[in-house]
Symmetry: D2
Subunit: 93 residues, 4 copies
């Protein structure tokens, strides 16, 4: 089981809302809504997805990485390497 | 008509793909997929949405803002102010 | 003369402060200050530089791009293309 | 001693270069250089500072957080909480 298991309901709710927001943006484009109003929605859903990512990362550090670190050895090194790479992708996206 | 009218098909295609990606991330959470793999997908869909936003902004500058600027006056000032505010939201999101 | 000429004093002040912050971060590293405190300062100076960039971009849109747009033709197209590329670099950095 | 002690020379070199870049941007503003060229430099120094931050964070996770996690208890929880908050600031800046 992974770190986010306790937050599954919250993550699923946030992701469903984000999915609905993206569908809503499609309708705005379809209905020729003003560009700036669409851009505002795109920024909102990007922020919502960042919140999901930060929650996942927090859970991952607190469970998967923490557990592996307690055991030590190459598994721990790999978990820490993976976490840093995921953080870099988030910061650069 | 707004600046993005010529790119509607491309924008809609990108948004549909992003919607599918978000739905896919829900399934990953549901299926207890490893945190890092989910994070990789969240970074990918955030980047895809940024591309949509940059396309919308480019169209907006080239059409709505350019037209208003040619006419000049308070409408032009407002369009430029709006564009700068949208850019700031994008940079900060 | 470029768009930011009226904001030169403010831009210079912000850039000097950012320079001082970066020098301050060097001292923190030198003095073995705790990582998290250094990271807080790096986020602060990154945000300060984003504010400088957004100010420059706003001035550029309101002056250089607006002027070129009024004249129209290939110069205007190039200015708009350049502005969009600069915005994309900012959003992706 | 903190996690970044082994990378001090590299961090200091990067920070000095960033300081020089910020000073260079001041000169560009002073010399009325074209806005887009200044914006390119601001994006470059922002990216350089992000690299410093990601290096610091990687060191912090691999040393300070890993050590605390092996010991466990409230110190470990606080280190993990701090790390997540620093990551969030980085992602949002």
């Amino acid at each position: 089981m992974h770190g986010y298991v306790d937050n599954k309901a919250d993550l699923t709710k946030r992701l469903r809302r984000a999915e609905g927001q993206v569908r809503g943006i499609q309708r705005m484009v379809d209905d020729d809504v003003y560009c700036i109003d669409i851009l505002t929605q795109v920024s909102a859903v990007t922020k919502a997805l960042e919140t999901v990512a930060l929650q996942l990362l927090d859970d991952h550090l607190n469970h998967c990485v923490a557990e592996a670190t307690r055991e030590g050895g190459p598994v721990a090194d790999e978990k820490l390497r993976e976490a840093s790479a995921a953080i870099a992708r988030l910061v650069r996206s």
